[in-house]
Amino acid sequence: MSAQLQFRDVTLGYDRHPAVHHLSGAIEAGALLAVVGPNGAGKSTLFKGIAGAIPLLGGSIERGGLAARDIAYLPQIAEIDRSFPISVYDMVAMGLWQRTGLFGGIGAADRQRIRDAMSAVGLTGFEQRAIGTLSGGQMQRMLFARLLLQDARTILLDEPFNAIDARTAGDLLALVQRWHGEKRTVLAALHDMEVVRAHFPQALLLAREPVAWGATGEVLTPQNLLKARQMCEAFDDAAHACAVAD
């Protein structure tokens, strides 16, 4: 299997402070990887780096020939203006952006795909609803429908099941499994270790620096989790430039 994502001594952060420090390794094409770690461990930062939303402070990320734009990315806090007067249908249809671009029309085949995506997330009948009328769980279903239409080979999900009830999480997890079955590469940042153990064959335990990476059972040991909790310290404003050679 070829590497879909290759990290070479990647450092990511803000104002020169590292939030992900010296990460090296590869993620195979078709992998289903859970990224776990305490709050502030750098999970979101790593995803932003992979999606090209923030610049690297050091090292390099190879995306297996994909542009950062070809990677579908669901942020933890989608900064969606819920008061905006747009329908659920139009919002889902935005997932076709890569195909339609600025001016491309949406044909009969595309409309069928939009219907299929909405049905897959259980939102059939919500087409003409304004997005502001959706509940938190329905909103997340809508965003997953949009992800379905993006049809990306690599998908990043940043804490996709937060504040969502078990039934919705279960439905969305089934979509993640479907993507895995379609040999797509899926990375998900998660806090629920039961979900990780049950559904994710691989895990990366992150605490600014990678603590453990590999088969989930070997990564999520009590020793590793304890180590991760202890490694997360705050930014030090007086920190010196990192001495590790790039």
């Binding site: 999606a51 939303a53 734009r69 990677i71 579908a72 990315y73 942020p75 989608a78 900064e79 969606i80 203006d81 905006f84 007067p85 747009i86 329908s87 919002m91 935005m94 952006w97 890569q98 671009g101 600025l102 001016f103 304004a130 997005i131 502001g132 949009r146 993006q150």
Partner: protein, 296 residues
Amino acid sequence: MHEHVHAHVHELSELWTDAALRQSLAAVLILALSAAPVGVFLMLRRMSLVGDAMSHAILPGAAVGYLVSGLNVFAMTLGGLVAGLVIAVLAGLVARATEVKEDASLAVFLLASLALGVVIVTTHGMDAEELMHFLFGETAASIDHNKLIIIAVNATVSIVALALIYRPLVLDCVDPNFLRSVSCAGAAAHLTFLVLLVINLVSGFHALGTLLGVGIMIIPAVIARFWTRDITVMIVIAVVAAALSGIAGVLLSHAAGVPAGAGVILAAAVFYAISIVAGPVGGLIWRAVPRRHLEA
């Protein structure tokens, strides 16, 4: 009966014989078509007051045009466009490149621009009366042939450009992070939108005066918000509201001998008041009338 009809025909025919009135009506109708959709996006981007501020920012440029070539419509248009565009683009770029928010960035540039305008105007000896006319418009906004052409050209550019950037503009409002993750069109769409704002402000300045011109952009958009929850319908309603306000306002100002800008904005304000009370989306009547909740 026959004479009664005849009198009406005579009144109506005045619309076709009075050139100034006819041109004023044409101007506000064209302005409604181009400015109201821009106003809808201003409102949805929570930039209504930014539009207001930008209308002041074009003043120094128009003042320079005025000082260079007197009351030449084209020189004042060019000056206003250049000043507005420089400020809009600089403020937009600073907001995108730094952590300063757009409104704060615009406020700084706008104040600097106004200060520069004051320096230009005072050092070149514009007298107080001229300045008052310039800032608040003349007693009756007279739309001559040249102004009408400028307004029409601006509207054509504005409508075509808005159609081109419509999709990224909507997405940049509702989910900017997603747009950034799939396309780099967001920044270009935003800057283009600021350009359209300036273009329409210059048109509004010619048709309705400097301080009130921005009203035909913003008030119809806020009116439309009371009538629909769909962006497409909202734009149509805003255009209709702007056109009705424009026609009513111009006829009112013609009959009462007051400035057209004041007439149009007061007419729009009346429609706004009606919308607050009767609009189906959040109107007061619907809140006051107790209706039983639905089954599902």
